[in-house]
């Protein structure tokens, strides 16, 4: 407004001599323009940088969990220790507990030292301590599976304990173990010697993906497998319940509902449910499904039910959008050749909307897969999910964890070795989420129709 020349002033070109030269005011305005644009670029860069940092942190901290340190030992499976009567009766072999196997491990270490000529002042007990507390159980399971091996000497790869594993991964250093009673400098010397010998090394550890969780003292043996089964069981429940109910509700609201206050109440309800904090659904699940209906605590069935209620609004909203995108001419044509309203919807509109419905459902499922808070309240954390279920019914009803709940559980255990597993678990979880979203995008690209 101040650009309007003052009529009282002498008429002069306010911009100076040439159009090509900017005067001070224009310069200022243009500088402000550039600054403003820069703010936007900075904001986006910060956002993308955060994403990059997050992904980088996850990958750099988590990939270690997929590798584990193993030591190869030749274990003499002495007959007089494992099968005193020599009749290979499985019931009798089972009576030897893991404590019975510990001496074999010590003996194995002694032979190893003799063979390789490593010099160490450690007692054989201290040597065996670089193994995982799980090692004896590992050996026992192997012997029980193959009782014919008793009496022979077998080569076996044992998990080392998490400190040794951390030492090889750089997480544990000689300085950091000064106050650590789980490992000593002499043991690390032995580890170095074994590494030089080639019998102690890191390798890919499939058990992290397929195995069960382990107790606090054995982070090296913990895996995601059982929690993964729990998550799948919940997704099954969500899919079986949320998809039909969601589609039915959307069809009613989109195609049949009269415009009245009841319909309005339902619609407002759905949009509000979509914004209710997830923990509130957890409280609902605890109060209704566990305290009132007495469904089993920690069961994936209950988790699935809670997640179903949580996912329904998402599925309803996306289903309604894809029903809406089917042009009215399709409905009119069906009605015109004598179909009933119900037939036109189920025979024509629904099949045409199916790709959109499927996409929305997959995205809803992905959301449910990553949800943690409600699972905390219905008890899917705080225990060790160690037994894979044997049937579908057991998978639904017996206590289990879920992937995000397992990650939370590990994060709570306050041990760097478990932190590594938590990050690794996140990688597995994200792989699932990314593939689900990719499938949704592909479906949309492949089947989307523009009318």
């Amino acid at each position: 407004m101040s650009d309007i020349p003052n009529p009282a002033a002498p008429i002069a070109d306010p911009r100076g001599a040439s159009l090509l030269v900017q005067d001070g005011r224009t310069k200022r305005r243009n500088a402000a323009e550039d600054r403003f644009k820069l703010y936007g670029i900075v904001a986006i860069t910060i956002g993308l940088l955060m994403l990059l940092t997050l992904l980088f942190t996850i990958v750099s901290r988590g990939t270690g969990a997929f590798q584990q340190t193993f030591v190869t030992l030749s274990v003499p499976l002495l007959e007089d220790k494992l099968d005193k009567n020599g009749n290979r009766d499985l019931e009798e072999i089972k009576k030897v507990s893991t404590f019975g196997y510990a001496p074999l491990l010590k003996a194995a270490f002694e032979t190893k030292i003799e063979e390789t000529g490593i010099e160490t002042e450690l007692k054989s007990k201290a040597m065996a301590d670089i193994l995982s507390k799980d090692a004896a159980a590992q050996l026992r399971d192997h012997v029980l599976a193959n009782p014919e091996l008793i009496g022979s000497v077998v080569e076996f790869e044992f998990l080392t304990n998490s400190r040794v594993d951390g030492y090889l991964k750089g997480r544990v250093t000689r300085e950091s173990i000064a106050n650590d009673k789980n490992i000593s400098a002499e043991q690390l010397d032995l580890v170095d010697a074994l590494v030089a010998d080639g019998s102690l090394a890191k390798r890919f550890n499939l058990d992290f993906i397929t195995g069960a969780d382990a107790s606090d003292a054995r982070p090296e043996a913990a895996g995601m497998g059982v929690a993964m089964i729990g998550s799948f069981a919940m997704m099954l429940v969500v899919l079986v319940l949320a998809l039909p109910i969601g589609v039915a509700a959307s069809i009613y609201l989109e195609e049949f509902a009269p415009k009245n206050w009841i319909t309005d109440v339902i619609e407002v309800n759905i949009s509000n449910l979509a914004a209710v904090p997830s923990i509130v659904f957890g409280i609902l699940g605890l109060a209704v499904f566990i305290n009132y209906m007495h469904l089993p605590n920690s069961a994936p069935l209950v988790g699935g039910l809670v997640l179903t209620l949580m996912t329904l609004p998402t599925i309803i909203i996306s289903t309604r959008a894809s029903l809406k995108s089917v042009p009215p001419s399709i409905r009119d044509a069906a009605l015109g050749v004598g179909a009933s309203k119900m037939q036109s919807v189920f025979h024509h509109v629904l099949p045409l909307a199916a790709p959109g419905i499927l996409t929305g459902t997959i995205i809803g499922l992905a959301q449910a897969l990553g949800e943690t808070a409600p699972l905390l309240l219905i008890g899917m954390v705080g225990f060790i999910a160690s037994n894979p279920p044997e049937s579908i019914a057991e998978g639904l009803m017996s206590p289990n964890s879920a992937m995000p709940a397992q990650i939370y559980e590990w994060a709570k255990r306050a041990d760097p070795a478990f932190y590594e597993r938590a990050w690794g678990g996140i990688i597995i979880l994200l792989v699932f989420l990314i593939s689900m979203n990719a499938i949704a995008v592909l479906l949309r690209r492949r089947f989307e129709r523009r009318w």
Binding site: I44, L51, L54, L284, L376, I407
Partner: protein
Amino acid sequence: MGQILTTGAVLPLVILIAALALGGYFLARGRALASAQGDSRNLHSLPSYYGYNAVMSVAVPALLVLSIWLLVQPMLVQSSVVEMIPAGAVPEGSSVNLLMSDVRRLADGLDAAVSAGVISAEDAADLSAAGDLRAWLAEQGVAIGGDISPEVLGAAQAFREMTARGNFWRNIIVALIALAGLLIVLRETDAEFRARNRVESGIKALLILAASLAILTTVGIVLSMLFETINFFNLHPWTDFFFGSSWAPNFRGDSDLSILPLLWGTLYISFIALLVAVPIGLFAAIYLSEYAGPKVRATAKPLLEILAGIPTIVYGLFALLTVGPALVRLFGRGEEGILGVEWMSGATSVLTAGLVMGIMLIPFVSSLSDDIINAVPQSLRDGSFGLGATHSETIRQVVIPAALPGIVGAVLLAASRAIGETMIVVLGAGAIARISGNPLEAMTTITTRIVSQLTGDSDFASPETLVAFALGLTLFVLTLGLNVLALYIVRKYREQYE
């Protein structure tokens, strides 16, 4: 035979209903065709509709009665068994609920023993509370918590007897209803019968049922929390909950349970989160919708939205293990730290949780604002350009004021997300309830306390556990209020330009 009729298993009954329904389909279809002399053109509806009508008439009432029965019977049995237990039979330090779970487990154990054929049904009913009953049951793989008193055994016997009687009548009544449905539908099926209309109104009722599940969920949320909240206020003064000043739950009783410190922590963290998310999200939205070319937009927008798709547990871990320690290196550790100050002692703090939550909310603010800015009509911009304003002047003086209500709505929605967020604060904010202005201190939030009061072995009769429901209800009301307000503002604003 008695064994079959009193079984608690639902599957045989469902199979029976399914078989009747399937038979009904073919019978009704055949009957309709026969009454039309085998020519389907003489029928009112397509032949299959007569069949579906039969399926519906057989299955729907029977399954409805069955599910109601399944819900109601355990409650009735439970309450009448509870009445039978004399007050003196409840041991010191235990409750009727705990005793009832023993009763139920004992009854289940006896059932398991009977079905395994270890003892006969008659023997199970006549068992006396011999001292070795518990050990004997343990041998059968049934673990009982306490010693089995005669009262518990008696209650368990009554429980079994009542359940068996209930199951007996349930099985008979449901089967009869299914059969009656079949007979009625066969009687009314003929060529004139309007089967399609019947089937379609049935389907429509099903659709309405599915749609009203949303209302049911909301009612369930409110009621489940309301009842427990009322219980809580009966045990604990509501004035302390709303106006007290400290949060110190004590499971031996006599706790201070005031929401104010938690509310303060929640709002403080949300405020910091919005302080991070709103400027970044808003500027990103402005750039993407006003300046960016189609290529930049097509890559940057989905990339930013990935941030919204990452599960919150990931952010929680990021806060606890990456951002927290980084902040400690910056503000803590005294001489060894980067700034050489000793302001922060632990990784969990308001700032840790707030920063990470802010990152999570960036795409939330940016995509909502982006939509709103795009909805501002182009004519407003053109008018401003025509007057000689630069692009940024147009945005600041025309577009943003026009979009302001919508942006406020977006910020409110983000705030409601921040208040209800759980995993980030559980892992990143700490567990100490206090009212303080220092963002480097650990504080706690409503959601964190809900989780900590309700996880683990909780007794649903103590105010320390029930307070979680009051907190939940407060949280629900708070977020609902914000959402309704935000949606109202956004809707009002949209109408302006439509």
